[in-house]
Every structure is written in C-alpha cells, then in structure tokens.
C-alpha cells in the first residue's frame, strides 16, 4: 500500500514547548496499533506560524488544520479522521466572528491576507529531509544560476527584483552583492549569513532556519557564485539549538547530494558552509561586530568604511545578509525578478515576515506583502486585541525602533513609511500593546535592554543610555520634573548623532517615539504623579471607599506592613506613607471596596 495521507505536525520551538513531540509519538503509536504505517505517515515540519493555537496538526491531502492538539487527541484523530474520514470537529479552529468551525487554513482570517514567499516551505516539508526540499524546487535556482547565468546576470536579476535587506536597514541586496563581486577580484572572499536574531520578541529567522534550512544554504551558494567566494559561514545564536541541529543535518545532506562541496552539479563551482555560534550579544547583529565575533573576539563594532565588502572576515571581502534576505533569493531566480517586483510598494518590493506578539489574539509568524496596513495585520490577521481591550500602540524594530499608534493604523507599511513615522522595519518583531501597557515603562524596558547590551566602546552609548535610563526610572517612580523631559529629548538626539554603530544610533528611538506619540502620558507621570495604565508601581494608590467598606478587617489582617487601620464594622483607611503597593488588600476585599488610583 502506498502512503495516501500525511499528518504534518509542527516541530518548531513554540509547538515543541507545548509538547508537540508527545503528540508525534502518540500519533505514531496509534498508526502502528492500527497497522496503518503503510497508509499514513507522520511528518515533523517547521513552523506553521499560528503559534497561538499550537501544537498544530495538519492532514494532507484534505488540508484539515487541527489546533491545540494534545497527546490524548491522537487516538481520535487516527480512528476518526484517518480511518473513517470524519473530521474531529472539536479540534478545528473556530472563527471568532461567526463561531463556525474552519477546517482549511486557507479560509482562516489569520492566513487569508498572507503571501508566503520566504516562508513558502515552512510547515510544508520535513526540514530534515533534503528530498522534500528538492521536490519543492530546492536547489533548482542554484542549478539555473550555475548552468544558465553568469554571476553578473544573477546580480542584475536580484537588482531588478528590488529586494532590500530584511535585517532592518533595507540596503538593496543586488547592489550589495555587486560591490562585493567587484571588490579585490580573485582574492579569497566569504559569504556570511547573519542568524544572530537578538531582537527580543522576534523569531522569524529561527523559524525559517528550523522550517526550511536548505533554502538558506542554496541562497548562500548562489551569493558565493556571484561574488566569487567558495566558503560561507552562518553566525547563529547558541540559544537556538533546534535551528543549529537542522542546519547541521541540512549541510551534511547537501554535501552528500553534491549540492554543496566541490564541483557542485559538475560545474566546477566549489562552495562549503560552516556554522559559527554567537554567545548572546545583541550588538553582534551589527555586521562589523558580527565579523569580530566570528573571529573569536569581543563583538565590538568598528567604523565603516572599510565596509565588509572591502575588508571583512579575516580582512577579506565579505558579504553579510540576513536569513530572511537569503530566503527570498531562490524564488526570485526561479520565478523571475518581474514576478517578484510586482509584489509590494514602489520602493519596497516583496513581502516581510513579522513575529506578531503581545496583546493580540493570534500570536504567530506572519508573512505579508509590503504596503499592507497595520490595521489589516492587527485586526484581520491578528484577530484584534486580546480580551476586547483598547489598542494603544504597536512596537516595530525592537530596541532600535519605535511605537506606532492609532493614527498610523492605516499607513501602508514599508521601509520608508515606517521611518517617516518614527519607527523602522527592523528585523520584524511586532509587539502589540493595549491600554494596560504604560508607554514610559515600555521605553524604560527597551533602554534597560540597550544599557545591558551596549558594548561599551563609545561614550554616547555607554554613558548616554545609562543617563536616559536613570531619568526614565525617576519618572516612573514619580520623581520626574518637566526639566527631565526636556533632558530626555536633548540627550536622545545627542546619542543618535554621536554613537559609533547602529545599536547606539538607534537606541534612543523608543524614547523619542514614545515622547512624540504619548507626550501626555509622560506629563501625567511628572505633574500628576499618575500612571494611567497602572504599571508604574510607585505611582499606584490603593484607596478604600468608605461607602462600600463593611469593616470586615480582612484587608487589615492581610496587610504585610500594617498600613491599614480601622475598627470592626467601621470603614478602614490605608496609610499611604506605609503602603508598599503589594495589592494584597485589593485581592482580599470581598466587597470591591478597594480601588487603584
């Protein structure tokens, strides 16, 4: 009997963390128990993107999409769906607007507006099996380049596609390759893939490497062919063990198939790839810092020029691109630049992968055409704000980016519009915040991150950011003055102008953008000593409403510092000078007499 059905189970980090591996084991056990191993096969895939509903199980050919599957559901899936052909309704996704079961992911709001180019194979193939990749055109683009195109023609095609670097800054990829190809011709050169995804709240690159490692290897080889390099290095975070494992497997398989190594496809072109591990330093996302780290040194950035294309890894010409940029290359070669440049906006072509997270109903990995609006992303794909709360801001670009607000909801997103709005594309983290998030606290959070991650080489970043953090802390503790707010703005602008590298130059962005968009909130913290979101602990006040208080004494007995006084059956009072704002009284009160001001 031939395999008729495939059961795809997400083996990405998110779903693995909610025990998808036990689901896989149970499914296999049930298939064996029913003697079905010749009929149906379990395939462990990369990320489907809909992490909110994980673990995800998808049945092919009927495209049934099961969500939040537990190991104990395996029996029912096999007995009902695989044997009897009846869908297990209770595991299907329920559309929040119509309350109807949706069985095919194509019809889910989460997927409807997505265009999957970089993520084309994620959740579709077994990333540890090169043949599945080849069946989906894997290495076809490399073959086409090596046999039908000259390096200059390939570069021309990439330039024509309009692809820009997906790591954040958006430099045109074709131009970057062209510069590297013309630099010090005939010398040893290197191709580097930046997989040091340090931006907190972003997991695009990890999911790509876990779900489709061969596309990255293929694109690096194409780049090597274009610029005249025979060796590639992938700089990857050590915190990504699964992605590292999948890359190791993929490199080995590609070598066995003659798709990496010497004389690739009999064309005389040689290309090898090795892995280099990061060790947890955000600044290593900056290309000069990354190169120093690969050389076994502290990951400190250096002035550009010289650019890596002139003098990079081991002082040789080096081309550095990010994972998602590489993931687009094979598609552009296979389908043509003219197909690719029809997607997106005038200056930003193609799609962008975002890690949508925070206070949104559908958290996950999404890929959308450039030019989509935030409203479409948050309310259609993201399913709106969690718990029906009010939307407040969305943060893009991580610690280097800024916040966008309600007034930006209908702006088409591309590299340039985000910069114009005071944020940036960044690598693709997109964190949604609701009315319960305090924007001063958010700015403080990012500054805390930058201060910790600053390499310390240049003074504006090392000292300046520390001062910014101190001022922000002061404000959240209710000790800020209007003078401090002015100081925040001035200092931010100085750091932007004077810092050495991209990390420092962009580090005040979270401060400036929250000041621009939420000035009122800053002023409230300073003049009224009030945090409207109730996040700044020092500004909270617990108060007892004497009309509602029954004098039960529950709060006074629970208060750890004895700040509540009053006699039985008479209203109690909280002494604000003693109160440590722990919230115990608030939780203990059965009558709702205590409120937070």
């Amino acid at each position: 009997m031939a395999i008729k059905m495939h059961i795809l189970v997400c083996g990405g980090t998110g779903c693995s963390a909610s025990s998808s591996h036990e689901v896989i084991a149970e499914l296999n056990k049930e298939l064996e128990a029913h003697n079905l191993t010749d009929f149906a096969k379990v395939v462990v895939t990369g990320c489907f993107g809909f992490c909110e509903r994980g673990p995800i199980v998808k049945i092919i050919p009927d495209n049934t999409f099961y969500t939040r599957v537990k190991p104990e559901d395996a029996k029912e899936i096999i007995e009902e769906h695989i044997i009897k052909g009846r869908k297990v309704n209770r595991l299907l996704y329920v559309a929040p607007d119509t309350n109807e079961h949706v069985s095919d992911s194509k019809h889910m709001e989460f997927y409807k507006k997505q265009v999957r180019i970089a993520l084309r194979n994620c959740g579709f193939i077994d990333p540890e099996n090169i043949e599945e990749s080849i069946a989906r055109e894997g290495y076809a683009a490399l073959g086409k380049c090596l046999t039908e195109m000259t390096p200059a023609q390939v570069i021309e095609e990439i330039k024509k596609s309009g692809l820009r670097g997906r790591g954040g800054a958006g430099f045109p990829t074709g131009t970057k390759w062209e510069i590297a190809s013309k630099s010090r011709v005939g010398e040893q050169k290197y191709v580097v893939c930046n997989a040091d995804e340090g931006d907190p709240g972003a997991f695009m690159d990890r999911s790509l490497l876990e779900g489709d490692p061969h596309s990255i290897l293929e694109a690096m080889a194409i780049c090597g062919y274009c610029i005249g390099a025979d060796h590639g290095l992938i700089y990857i975070r050590a915190e990504y063990p699964l992605a590292i494992h999948r890359l190791q497997v993929a490199i080995k398989q590609a070598e066995e198939y003659g798709l990496l190594g010497e004389d690739i496809m009999g064309t005389g072109f040689n290309f090898t790839i090795e892995l280099r591990y990061g060790a947890g330093a955000f600044v290593c996302g900056e290309e000069t810092a990354l190169i120093h780290s690969m050389e076994g040194k502290r990951g400190e950035p250096t002035f550009k020029p010289p650019f890596p294309a002139q003098s990079g890894y081991l002082e040789k010409p080096t081309n550095v691109n990010n994972v998602e940029t590489y993931a687009n290359i094979p598609v552009i070669i296979n389908k043509g630049a003219d197909w690719f440049n029809k997607i997106g906006t005038e200056k930003s072509k193609g799609t962008k992968v975002f890690a949508l997270a925070g206070k949104v109903n559908n958290v996950g990995l999404i890929e959308v055409p450039m030019g989509i609006t935030l409203r479409e992303i948050i309310y259609e794909i993201g399913g709106g704000i969690k718990g029906g709360k009010k939307f407040k801001a969305v943060q893009t670009g991580g610690p280097s980016g800024g916040c966008l607000t309600e007034k930006h909801l209908d702006t088409p997103i591309d590299y340039d519009s985000l910069v114009a709005a005071g944020s940036m594309m960044g690598s693709g983290g997109m964190i949604v915040m609701d009315e319960d998030n305090c924007m001063v606290d958010v700015a403080k959070f990012y500054l805390g991150f930058t201060v910790e991650e600053s390499c310390g080489k240049c003074t504006p970043c090392r000292v300046g950011n520390k001062r910014l953090l101190e001022i922000l802390t002061k404000i959240t503790e209710g000790k800020g003055t209007m003078q401090d707010l002015e100081e925040l703005k001035n200092l931010s602008n100085v750091i932007k102008d004077a810092a050495l590298c991209g990390l420092g130059q962009t580090s005040p962005n979270p401060v400036l953008s929250t000041i621009n968009n939420f000035w009122d909130e800053y002023v409230e913290h300073v003049t009224e000593k009030k945090c409207r979101a109730g996040q700044c602990k020092a500004l909270k006040q617990y108060v007892i409403n004497p009309d509602v208080c029954k004098g039960c004494t529950a709060c006074a007995r629970a208060c750890p510092v004895g700040a509540i006084s009053g006699t039985v059956k008479n209203p109690h009072v909280i002494d604000q000078s003693k109160c440590i704002k722990c919230g115990t009284c608030y939780e203990k009160c059965k009558f709702g007499a205590i409120s937070i001001k």
Binding site: G278, G280, F282, R298
Partner: protein
Amino acid sequence: MCGSKIKISEANYLKVKEICASFNNNPGELINVLHQTQGHFGYLPEEVQQVVAECLQIPVGRVYGVVSFYSFFTMKPKGKYAISVCLGTACYVKGGDKILDALKSELKINEGEVTPDGKFSIDVLRCVGACGLAPVMTINGKTYGRLVPEQVKDILAQY
C-alpha cells in the same frame, strides 16, 4: 609548563586541552572552545580560562574579555535546576516581570544567584522565541508557558 601554577585537577586540565586541540588550538575558534568548555564544566572558572589561554597561546585577558562580553558565558556555577525567565518584549508586556518577582520571593534569591543548597538558580534571558506562549520560563530547558505568578509555587514543588 605553566600548568603547574593552575589549581585544577589533572583530568580537567586534560579535558580543556583536548577541547582546544579539537579546534587545532586556533585562537579564532575561541568562542567555540568556550562553548564546549562551558558545556563540560557548567561554567567557566578562572582556572579553566587560564588553561584555555595557555593552549591557544593568547593572553588570559583576551579570554576573560570574551567570557565577560557575552551573556551566554558565566563564571558562576548554576543551580542543579537552572531557571531562566524570559523577559523578551512579548513576555514583558504580558507580565514576565511578575513571574520573575514570584520566583524571587519564593526562592529568596535574586536573578543571577543560586539557592544556598545549590538546587535552583534564576537567570533572565531575552526571548526563547516561544512568544505565542508568553510569558515563558524554562527549567533546565523544559518550557513552561502562559504562566501566571500563582503557578510558580506548584511548578517549583515538582523539583
């Protein structure tokens, strides 16, 4: 041989030498060497750094410079059960800091510290990449997601 100055057992000394040799004693591989060494010892004490420096023929200062630069490397041993609380943005906006507070008050240690019995240690990390499960913590690599502070006590009791 400067090995005599270093207070480290012969077996451990040979282990570090072996790791360095597997990277051809190439100073360019320092970070990979340290990854493997920390994988073996659990942390990178001063004595071990000295042996690495000796094998790769670089100053101890350079080894220490790299160890102290990268957050992944640690010079303090971790607890038997190493707890890492994610404070990436997605976890932070969903209250990851409150999970950290609950752990600290439950174990009576701060982040970066180990309980006196050596059983637990708390660290903060930036993004596990499981943002769909935020807020998240991991204990020896096992992930606990969609946490509320009240769960912390029960989870610790399992260890």
